[in-house]
């Protein structure tokens, strides 16, 4: 029993060590490059100073309100996108006629970079939260719509025949067979849309100046606070990582039955 545990524990410990050794190596190199003057210190402060600044920020209420504002834009944008994209995907995915009727519109609107809508957003919504939410929602809408649509179309014909032969009604076929089968697609769509919504929220703050982390990054640049600039960039990265981890954990719970998650049990 004990030997077995050691045997399984050792490779895991080694895997963790391998993962973090790469991170440590990059951080040490960056630190040395800055300290030795290999990289101009004015633009590339040592990593330790970035993290020291980050540590200081963690005690500042203004920092936390910027985080909250960014997250607010992200959450509202993603939420609004989900409210529209999932039902729209369900409607389009269950009817070949509807899909054909709207396909061209979707294929036209989808490739528009959301950033191209910044002037429109300012024109219509001004420079506040609404603009940020609009941009995030627009960008997050498409991946979620497409994923939901694919999920509805990918229903297994044998599962559908099974439902029909056992006389499940239209509504039940939808709720008991088609929708559960589409959930993995919707989950993937949500994870992609979440990243996109965060990117657009920060972009709106940077470009339009809506309150949030993006605006703080710009302010740090203007004020020449390079340490702070990097600290905030690190925070946006950590935020994206944390949100992705959150969705991945949610998927593991909801989709425990799905082939992609079965090994994780």
């Amino acid at each position: 029993m004990t030997t077995q545990r050691v045997r399984t524990a050792r490779p895991r410990a080694r895997a963790v060590a391998q993962t973090w050794s790469g991170v440590a190596a990059v951080l040490v190199l960056a630190e040395l490059a800055s300290r030795t003057g290999l990289l101009p210190r004015r633009y590339f402060p040592p990593v330790t100073e970035m993290f020291a600044e980050l540590g200081r920020q963690l005690t500042e209420p203004s920092f936390w309100s910027a985080v909250a504002q960014t997250l607010q834009g992200w959450a509202l944008g993603l939420g609004i996108a989900a409210v529209f994209a999932v039902p729209a995907g369900m409607l389009l995915g269950t009817s070949a006629v509807r899909y054909r009727a709207f396909r061209v519109i979707i294929e036209f609107l989808r490739p528009i970079p959301s950033v191209a809508l910044v002037p429109l957003a300012i024109l219509v919504y001004g420079v506040g939260l609404e603009s940020k939410v609009f941009l995030a929602a627009f960008a997050a809408f498409w991946p979620l719509l497409i994923q939901t649509l694919y999920g509805m179309q990918d229903v297994d014909p044998v599962a559908l025949d099974t439902a029909r032969v056992y006389r499940l009604g239209r509504v039940e076929r939808l709720t008991r067979v088609v929708l559960p089968g589409a959930v993995p697609y919707v989950a993937t769509g949500l994870r992609i849309s979440s990243s996109v919504a965060l990117i657009l929220a920060v972009t709106a703050e940077l470009v339009i100046g809506s309150p949030g982390l993006g605006r703080e990054i710009n302010a740090a640049r203007v004020g020449g606070a390079t340490d702070l600039l990097y600290a905030l960039i690190i925070v946006t990265g950590l935020l994206g990582w944390a949100l992705n981890a959150l969705f991945a954990a949610g998927e593991r719970r909801v989709l425990h039955w799905h082939p992609s998650q079965r090994d994780a049990r």
Binding site: D156, T162, V165, R167, L168
Partner: protein
Amino acid sequence: MLDVSGLSKTYGEGRRVTHAIADLSFSVSEGEFVCVVGPSGCGKTTLLRCMAGLLAPTSGRVALRGQVVDGPPEQIGFVFQEYSRSLMPWLSLRDNIALPLRHKALGRDERNRLVEDAVESVGLTGFMDHYPWELSGGMQQRVAIARALAYQPEILLMDEPFASVDAQTRADLEDLVLRVRTAYGVTVVFVTHDIDEAVYLGDRVVVLTPPPTAVQEVLPVALPEPRDQVETKELPEFAHLRAHIFRSIKRKQDDTPDLPAPT
């Protein structure tokens, strides 16, 4: 009880038309075990789907106790060849088997009893809360059979149900089907491309021609009951029947020019 008369099914139209079934007639009596056997691509699955009301025939009709079948009738249970796709991976065994029972006017106790009896009769007691994908292929097909049994059909339609399991499992499942057929008193129509399987299981064997498909012959199987994997297959009658069907299919195949077989 179940009559197939003048059934034909064509796919496509114009020059790309495929005659899957040309003209099929046969009937199944109450309590009978009928095996339908034919060369691959002869429209066996199409026939079974028409019988289940999943597919509308191009002409002719399927009638259940005189009623024309124009949609899945509630007296019919179906076991698909693709068990892993026919079971819902997000539902446990219990929920998979109970899924078709939602529309039956049953109390909760009654429903649970039906599910538990069916699971017991296929020998999967203790796996109730497992998910289908945690089980082997043979066990998954047992779940699909249990689901059909719990539904309490008068007729069980089985579409090459054991085509994708190994030989030993297949023999076990064949005997399982014979057992539950008696226990549940159900009429069975069993489609297979395996002549031995058809002779071993059936009270009668309907032999189909290659496409465009018609009935080549209908053979009564006068083998003693209960059937036994070793003893039944040792009998001269068994060998005689399987040889007869084999030659019958072979002869017909040699007669007909090679047509692209629809899948």
